[in-house]
Subunit: 220 residues, 2 copies
């Protein structure tokens, strides 16, 4: 070939995984279940979270970490529409959260007494998938307007997510979205992925998802 | 507001800056000038590099580090079209290079005897701007098809780049690109930015840029 090939990220990922495992251990001792929510910008993460939190908050003491490069509109909305404890994490430009960043945030966010913690990760279908945040489970959202081919283009996000939620299903007619093809594409990346189809706006499919979350949290 | 705001990236950036300063010191001792080239995918980084290297290789011993998430088409092209020493860096999914990653790559890339080192960073207008790579200077490319408003939308990339190269100027008529507005937008972000307008395809403006690089390298 005339040139060498070097891989340079292993060390960083190994260190991050170690930190993520430590964090999982700490949260397990505190009996806090931690769900990392990932998606592109505009896929409907905050809207779905508001919906799910209002269905789950009678049974769980919920906390939310809202991660954004800057701004705090999502945190303000969670507080206003659900009333649960919320913290805004600013990544100062970073396109993802590392386990270290989550750990730093949790230090400033009194999590004692909580038993369910959501992280709304930075809106991005690439970078957040690379870094284990220390969560018990990854839940990713794919909105109908983004297209049914996304699992083919962004494999890692689908590989690392146990739960894949297809959102904004009320727009399927406009966007010619093929649910069956999308499910096949998701299962190509992760054959054990649990797929939900929801419309947070019309409150469709969200109870099924909330019940599934209840089951896995209580069965931990 | 009802919620706290936490900033979580300072430590990582401080550590990266320290590593970048160390790397700059090592390269200075070896008398190697290091240029970090950044832009969106498809802005014409490799094409411009081939053009510049062929203009500069009689005066400098040049090495190229090609960073990509995966693949090696750009490294193969640099070797084929310039013949200079090239290394392919795979970031295994990472959207930018840290100083540590560059350092790891340089360890495997025998840089002794070189006096000019180019890094073609991962194609991305956001993430690479956040991390000091240890380079002496950042050169960013903005292609005409991307639009003259990009300095407003991606401020950091323009703030950290001493050299801004507007590429693909041969397409300006098709895209209704306002050069004066673009220059104003760039100078809003970095009033000392040195702006070049080039067409690597038609070999326009590239000699001025090559001469400018010669001057800054020899004047270091």
């Amino acid at each position: 070939m005339g040139f060498e090939v070097v891989k340079v990220k292993e060390d960083i990922l190994i260190e991050n995984s170690k930190k993520a495992d430590e964090l999982r251990k700490v949260l397990k001792e505190k009996r806090i279940y931690f769900i990392n929510v990932m998606a592109s910008p505009g896929a409907g993460k905050t809207t779905l979270l508001v919906n799910l939190i209002n269905k789950l908050k009678t049974e769980f003491n919920i906390g939310v970490m809202e991660a954004d490069i800057d701004g705090d509109v999502d945190a303000a909305r969670i507080v206003k529409e659900t009333g649960v404890k919320t913290i805004q994490i600013h990544t100062s430009g970073a396109c993802h959260l590392t386990a270290q960043m989550v750990n730093d945030a949790i230090k400033q966010f009194d999590v004692d007494g909580l038993n369910l913690l959501f992280l709304e990760n930075v809106g991005n279908l690439v970078c957040p998938a690379e870094f284990d945040t220390g969560a018990n489970i990854n839940m990713m959202l794919l909105s109908v307007p983004e297209g049914d081919d996304k699992p083919l283009k962004y494999p890692l996000m689908f590989e690392v997510s146990k739960i894949a939620v297809i959102t904004k299903i009320e727009t399927a007619d406009i966007f010619d979205f093929d649910f069956q093809k999308c499910q096949q594409n998701i299962h190509k990346r992760n054959q054990n992925a649990k797929i939900f189809e929801v419309s947070a706006l019309e409150d469709k499919g969200t109870s099924e998802l909330a019940n599934y979350l209840k089951d896995i949290i209580q069965g931990r």
